[in-house]
Amino acid sequence: MKTRCFEKKYEMMGRDELSALQGERLRSMVARVYQRVPFYRRKLDEAGIRPEEVRSIDDLVRLPFTTKIDFRDQYPFGLFAVDMKKVVRVHASSGTTGKPTVVGYTRKDIELWSRTCARTLGCGNGTARDVVQNAYGYGLFTGGLGMHYGGERLGATVIPMSGGNTKRQILLMQDFGTTLLCSTPSYALEIAEVAAEMGVDLRKTKLRVGFFGAEPWSDNMRKAIEERLGVTALDIYGFSEVIGPGVASECLAHCGLHVFEDHFYPEVIDPQTGRSLPDGQPGELVFTCLTKEALPLIRYRTRDLTRLTHEPCACGRTLVRMQRVTGRTDDMLIIRGVNVFPSQIESVLLEIEGTQPHYLILVERRDRLDEIEIQVEVDEKLFSDEIRKLEDLRNRIGYEIYSILGLTAKITLVEPRTIERSQGKAKRVIDKRVI
């Protein structure tokens, strides 16, 4: 198997050398956050750990976890380890309630991120000769700018398409000779569908490899994408708290995602006990950011379920591999690349209704795109006998949800008690997507 690594030195580093490098980076990161982030100083003090006791990567398991709740409590910049004058960029994703999860980057972080995204493209043997069509959304979402900088860092030609405008995507794909496509897997299928309607056979274009992530997908979708677009479809992984895309990527051997662990150290733990699990055991994925300046994280709990393996890969990379994420330990949904927590929707309704709302979230995949519907029970407090006022209520809920999630949800007002009450915890989500 011919492998072109973007940074062979790190991607094929011997395991002992890599461990030593990780240990050294961990040591210096812990010392830095202890000094600069009051939140971590307090956490380490409470755990009774002196920074100088952290000597090797094996000491990591003694350190406390960081969670999404900590991002909320430290909103917006409390977890940053540098002065704001060194922060050159922020991105944000949705939090568990109204406030977004905010992440920051120094100039050096942007360079690091560009390199790990370039490595991702390298996992599909991407080089400076490639033309990268980037259909991830540009903006606060990390997908667009992350892969954009990665493409440029690789020296490839980047077409900054962002999402949508599918016919134009297909036109430029043909005219500019796109070889690498970055998008969500469901959008790749949308492109295939529209191309078929236009009478364009994408298998005859120069398109070679696709880098798909930001939402869950299956082997069936992979097969459909590969057949219809005539590409090798690679699974990529990342999320904003760790850096964005460029945390892990599948290589052409198709046997799990190589984690760029010289920067983002992965562990799999038992979500109940917090105990570290050995290779092969499924559990919750946890990341430590060893090298980031603005936002170093110690043992951040992703809530994603997967397992790790250190077995050698046919591609020659020595980096640990994670299996495709198989689920979540919480109730987070991913809809059109956006993280959605039922608690966010609940907080909007609570704000409008003033009491505990009864609602149900329905998710469906229609015409290859995810759609979200929120059914809200109309009680006597919400009810008006004027159509106009009920429509105002419906529009207001829709608007508030859009302003928090950036997603258009269909809001349906329903009669009381139409939503099933279960014993104990109410069923809030029906996910009918078949992926």
Binding site: E380, D385, L390, L413, E415, P416, R417
Partner: protein, 143 residues
């Protein structure tokens, strides 16, 4: 002249209207007037019945979201221009109509128009000043 009207929230689903009508019928409650306002997803059924308290209690117990509202019923001659006359009085008085519905009273050669106003008292004053005949609740229920 305050007439109690029951508004019921109804989802646009087969059989929902029938459920309400049957519940009232089985309880021996008679519907005097009704209207239905609807959108693609839901509707509001507005009812004037001979036993407003019993009807509201029953519908609530059956899990419907209801609201009791006050409406005005006026009696007008059942001739061309009858309705226009009343609306002209309201228009001159600057009174806004939220919604209205009407039915014909064959025996007396009259029509009854049910109005819901934004400002109930101002509307009643305007109608009385224009010598429009307002029906009392018991009069309406006896029709």
């Amino acid at each position: 002249m305050r007439i109690r009207q029951i508004s019921v929230f109804i989802e646009n689903r087969a059989g929902r209207l029938e459920t309400v009508a049957k519940l009232l019928g089985d309880a021996g409650i008679n519907i005097r007037a009704l209207s239905l306002a609807d959108t693609s997803d839901f509707g509001i059924l507005r009812l004037i019945v001979n036993q407003p308290e019993a009807a509201s209690e029953l519908l609530r117990r059956e899990g419907f979201t209801i609201r009791l509202t006050e409406v005005v019923a006026v009696e007008i001659p059942d001739v061309p221009g009858g309705l226009a006359g009343v609306l002209a009085i309201l228009g001159r008085g600057g009174v806004n109509v939220e919604y209205m519905y009407a039915f014909v009273e064959k025996a007396r050669g009259k029509a009854v128009v049910v109005f819901r106003f934004e400002n109930f008292d101002a509307a009643v004053r305007t109608l009385e000043a224009g010598s429009v005949r307002l029906l009392k609740e018991d009069e309406l229920l006896k029709l």
